[in-house]
């Protein structure tokens, strides 16, 4: 009799303990923002539209988690140099950094500089509930994954948008070009000598021509004609008939209807010309819009309009830059680093990033969030950006290889040759030979 009572008491006590202590035991394994309190993180990024918003949100992160962040923002070229020096030396103290997968992914991945984030996502003690990785747009997720490894959390897109002068289109009765042929015809029509002095005052079209940096814009034409960088076996096809056609058009547009000196134009020369009213059409990112409509910066602020980039027989392929935040594989504070990445890219973090406007944010839920409506002005641009990203966006505007820069240089040389009016087929063949050589060396290296 007594033993039965003991058993019942013990069971009750046991159940009681289980219901009170067990949740604590589980709680010890659940997510807690303050888990890594007191750590110091080093965060490096380059200037992208949300940079300022990121900087401003860091003190709140420190409040929330007790982690101090030493953040550095550099321009892109210097950023790459600095990160490279640090990672190559093997002694870097960087914890979190910005990555542009289209440019960096293959190299950084094969060099082992990315910390794979899949495990962190699946670990409930490390990832906040409600982070919702599936909420990111599909192309964003794909863009930040390589070889089935997640290497970064997407933080934004920048699609290429077609900008044009509304006043000129109206005055000369030009419709918004839909195809490359339309584009060329419009460019021809809008290259004008407006004051009759024999010198051209307005150029129909202007874009980058400075070799390597032009390949991203060029990719729109390449894919539009049905060309590709590499075929399904990974061999370069940069001198295919479609590629030659694209090269020819790109060079012709700049040579005949573009301003002189295009072979040295990076984006800023193009934009300056457009702002000065000397160019009828060009392409730029969605965030560039605000620079075009600022009266202190632009003479044509009241007549700028935009549309989706025209396409070729193979459709429209606006190139889309994807950015993500990654954790350095050699970081000594990976958990804390992951906390920072989450903070910047979770649902509320995304809203903060969008604060400066003009950049398509990577999460589907954020687009539909009523809070951001006042920020995403003008609505037309925002909608256009979304449409571009979802329907015509091409995040693969670089050949998927380690030696991306070298390949781009070789292709850039062909672009320069085309602009200068040289034999396009020869230039394409030369680029092709270079690509074959570069990729062969790369594959040989990788096999070792």
């Amino acid at each position: 009799m007594k033993s039965k009572r003991v058993v019942i008491v013990l069971t009750i006590v046991g159940l009681f303990m289980a219901t009170t202590l067990l949740p604590n035991a589980i709680a010890a394994d659940t997510f807690n923002w303050k888990k890594c309190e007191g750590t110091k993180l080093r965060f490096v990024m380059h200037k992208i539209p949300p940079s300022k918003a990121v900087l401003e949100t860091l003190p709140k992160f420190e409040e929330k988690t007790g982690i101090k962040v030493d953040a550095e923002i550099l321009p892109e070229s210097q950023f790459r140099q600095k990160v490279l020096i640090q990672f190559a030396s093997g002694k870097s103290d960087i914890d979190v950094y910005l990555t542009m997968p289209a440019n960096d992914a293959v190299k950084y991945y094969t060099s082992g500089w990315y910390e794979p984030l899949g495990n962190y996502l699946n670990d409930p003690s490390k990832t906040e509930p409600g982070y919702d990785y599936e909420d990111f747009a599909k192309s964003a997720r794909e863009g930040c994954t390589i070889d089935n490894t997640i290497i970064g959390m997407p933080c934004g897109f920048s699609p290429a948008i077609f900008y044009y002068r509304k006043d000129l289109f109206e005055k000369y009765n030009v419709a918004i070009p839909q195809t490359f042929d339309d584009l060329e015809a419009a460019a021809k029509k809008l290259t004008l000598d407006t004051d009759g002095d024999g010198k051209i005052d307005i150029y129909g079209w202007s874009n980058r021509g400075k070799g390597r940096v032009a390949t991203s814009v060029f990719s729109m034409f390449l894919f539009g004609y049905g060309g590709r960088f590499l075929d399904d076996d990974g061999n370069p096809v940069i001198n295919s008939p479609e590629a030659v056609q694209a090269l020819d058009l790109y060079g012709r547009l700049l040579r005949l209807y573009g301003p002189p000196g295009s072979t040295n134009f990076n984006f800023y020369e193009v934009y300056s010309l457009f702002q000065q009213g000397k160019v009828a059409m060009c392409t730029a990112g969605a965030s560039t819009h605000k620079v075009f409509v600022d009266p202190e910066k632009s003479k044509i602020w009241d007549t700028v309009d935009y549309a989706i980039m025209p396409g070729g027989p193979n459709g429209r392929h606006s190139f889309v830059v994807v950015w993500g935040f990654s954790v350095y594989s050699g970081s000594k504070n990976k958990d804390a680093a992951w906390l920072l990445v989450q903070y910047l890219t979770d649902k509320s973090g995304m809203k903060t990033l969008l604060k400066d406007g003009g950049v398509t944010v990577a999460r589907s839920s954020t687009w539909k969030d009523p809070d951001i409506a006042p920020i995403t002005k003008p609505k037309k641009l925002f909608d256009l950006s979304l449409e571009t990203v979802e329907k015509h966006g091409n995040p693969y505007w670089n050949p998927p290889a380690i030696s991306v820069t070298e390949l781009r240089d070789a292709l850039g040389a062909a672009i320069v040759a085309s602009i200068l009016g040289e034999d396009v087929k020869k230039a394409a063949d030369k680029a092709q030979a270079e690509w074959v050589r570069i990729l062969k060396e790369e594959r040989a290296e990788m096999k070792k």
Binding site: R42, K47, I48, Q81, K91, S272, Q275, E296, K299
Partner: protein, 283 residues
């Protein structure tokens, strides 16, 4: 009497013409250099739309202070300024401090091999220095520290300091020191008290040039510096955005960066020489 006055008049006239001529020549040579500097400074006061407009607005623009405001307050400008000053001043002191004794020795004892060795410090291209230096400095815990940056800048300031001073020491006749030695002074004392003061004008030029080389150096600061020790040239790059280059802010920042150098140059000249003297020191 009349003849004398006429002569005086014509000599005066020809003197005026001659100085006018030389002023014109000086202006002719100086103008190209000044123009670009003026362009940079004036751009800092223009709205961006005026900077890139054509025909260029050399004088006819509405000035604005926004760019300077932006340059000074959108980045921790004063912190960068302090960092640049600390690094460059100490690098110059170090360069001159290490270079002067060596230069004296080289000049007096014709130590060509040592002079050559100093020169060889400049042969290595920076591309090859960055990664090994980063490894080295990181291991020693010197990244993102003033000491680290100053040490790295020594590589730029010491060769020029040494080599310029060699020439200035050579120009001082040995007899002066020898006289002092005969009188019982130590060689060091003679060097410090007699020889060195005579090279003051040379010291001025050397310090200014060493300072400038260190001031402009950006790549070492990029590789070895960090948030605490970033120097001014970095601030210039802050005006290169994703969407545009803020020409106004860039020009304002670039203009601001030149001012401390000017101040340094003027101060150094005042400190060392009360007005640079003309002509020779001997005789």
């Amino acid at each position: 009497m009349v003849i004398l006055r006429k002569e005086r008049l014509s000599t005066n006239l020809s003197r005026v013409f001659r100085s006018a001529f030389w002023y014109a020549v000086i202006a002719f040579f100086t103008l190209p250099f000044v123009f670009v500097i003026y362009w940079m400074f004036s751009n800092g006061f223009k709205n961006v739309v005026d900077i890139t407009s054509y025909p260029p607005k050399l004088f006819s623009f509405t000035p604005t202070l926004k760019n300077y405001e932006h340059a000074l307050f959108s980045v921790p400008f004063f912190k960068y300024l302090l960092n640049s000053c600390i690094v460059s001043i100490f690098a110059t002191l170090g360069g001159v401090g290490l270079g002067i004794p060596a230069a004296y020795s080289i000049a007096r004892f014709r130590q060509m091999r040592i002079a050559f060795a100093v020169l060889c410090a400049r042969v290595i291209p920076f591309v090859s220095i960055l990664i090994p230096w980063f490894m080295l400095f990181r291991t020693l815990g010197l990244t993102d520290t003033y000491i680290g940056l100053i040490l790295s800048h020594l590589l730029v300031t010491t060769p020029i300091s040494t080599w310029l001073m060699i020439g200035f020491f050579e120009d001082i006749p040995r007899e002066l020191e020898e006289a002092a030695w005969i009188d019982g002074s130590s060689k060091i004392k003679a060097f410090w008290v007699i020889v060195l003061p005579l090279t003051k004008p040379g010291l001025v030029t050397t310090s200014i040039l060493a300072f400038i080389f260190s001031w402009n150096n950006f790549i070492f600061s990029l590789a070895l510096g960090g948030n605490n020790t970033n120097t001014l040239p970095v601030s210039v790059f802050n005006f290169m955005y994703f969407e545009e280059i803020d020409w106004g802010g860039l020009s304002a920042a670039a203009s601001l960066i030149t001012i401390p150098v000017l101040v340094f140059a003027l101060l150094i000249q005042e400190y060392f020489v009360k007005g640079l003297t003309m002509g020779g020191m001997k005789g």
